[in-house]
Symmetry: C2
Subunit: 132 residues, 2 copies
DNA sequence: TGAACATATGAACATATATTCATATAATAC
DNA sequence: GTATTATATGAATATATGTTCATATGTTCA
């Protein structure tokens, strides 16, 4: 808990911070156990897709079953173009898949984790709201 | 699966979409079961905090134990100011808490869901990487 | 073939976000 | 008190993101 001897040549990489690293052991452990930068980057991209109410609503709706773009547009109350753009993002990330049936394109979830991520996020909100 | 009779006055709200609602039943069910707009908004805000590699790294590091700002700066390899700004966001959302000990401020996770959300997200990345 | 419909997509624009710089606050040592 | 260290924060800037508009693609029907 107390201060480390300071002269230590740790610096752990570059002189990126204007303060001295206070806890060499903790820092090294955190770096050692941290997920790879690439994993963090990709996880960030994933969470970004969940970081919009419209997309969340799309995903929640699809969790109940397949819907076409027009249905989704009605559910969201937003324009077809906006929905298509959002769906394109979700499709690129393989969170949803689509199939065409005549003029209509049906979308469905394409990833088992989607429901779980939704659940955890909404659970958090519910509990926070309850306890605050 | 086929088209509905079209004259139906559903419109489910406003003429927000240029196409006709194709599946009235599905749309109504989706709307009925959807989380409240407010919940979706807040969940979006939550996921936004996980939507940045730097913040993910902060959260992952704190999952291993308490760290001070300077430690985090070293772990991330980014400047103290940037880290403080990120911590302010996480603090506002009550995902982390802090305590002061002299000049040093220690941060720690303040929410049981953080680890779970991190886990689910990273799990998704790992499995996707494995199967793609 | 052409008209109507469902969806997709590029460009433009407005807003949000992350970082940096400069500076403020808080605590300790002298 | 002043100097030093650790952290916080406002302003500015560059980048990212979401929506809209216009238009393109693909399908069905007459």
């Amino acid at each position: 808990m107390a201060d480390e001897p300071q002269g230590a040549k740790l610096d752990t990489e570059a002189p990126r911070c204007d303060c001295r690293v206070v806890h060499k052991d903790r820092v090294e452990r955190a770096i050692a156990r941290a997920p790879l930068p690439e994993e963090l980057r990709e996880a960030g991209e994933l969470f970004k897709l969940f970081a919009d109410p419209g997309r969340l609503r799309i995903l929640a709706a699809l969790a109940e079953g397949e819907l076409c773009v027009c249905d989704l547009s009605a559910v969201l109350g937003s324009g077809q173009s906006a929905v298509s753009h959002q769906l394109a993002l979700l499709r690129t990330a393989r969170l949803v898949k689509n199939r065409r049936e005549g003029k209509t394109v049906y979308y469905a979830l394409d990833d088992e984790h989607v429901k779980e991520i939704l659940r955890v996020g909404l659970e958090h909100i519910a509990e926070r709201t309850a306890s605050s």
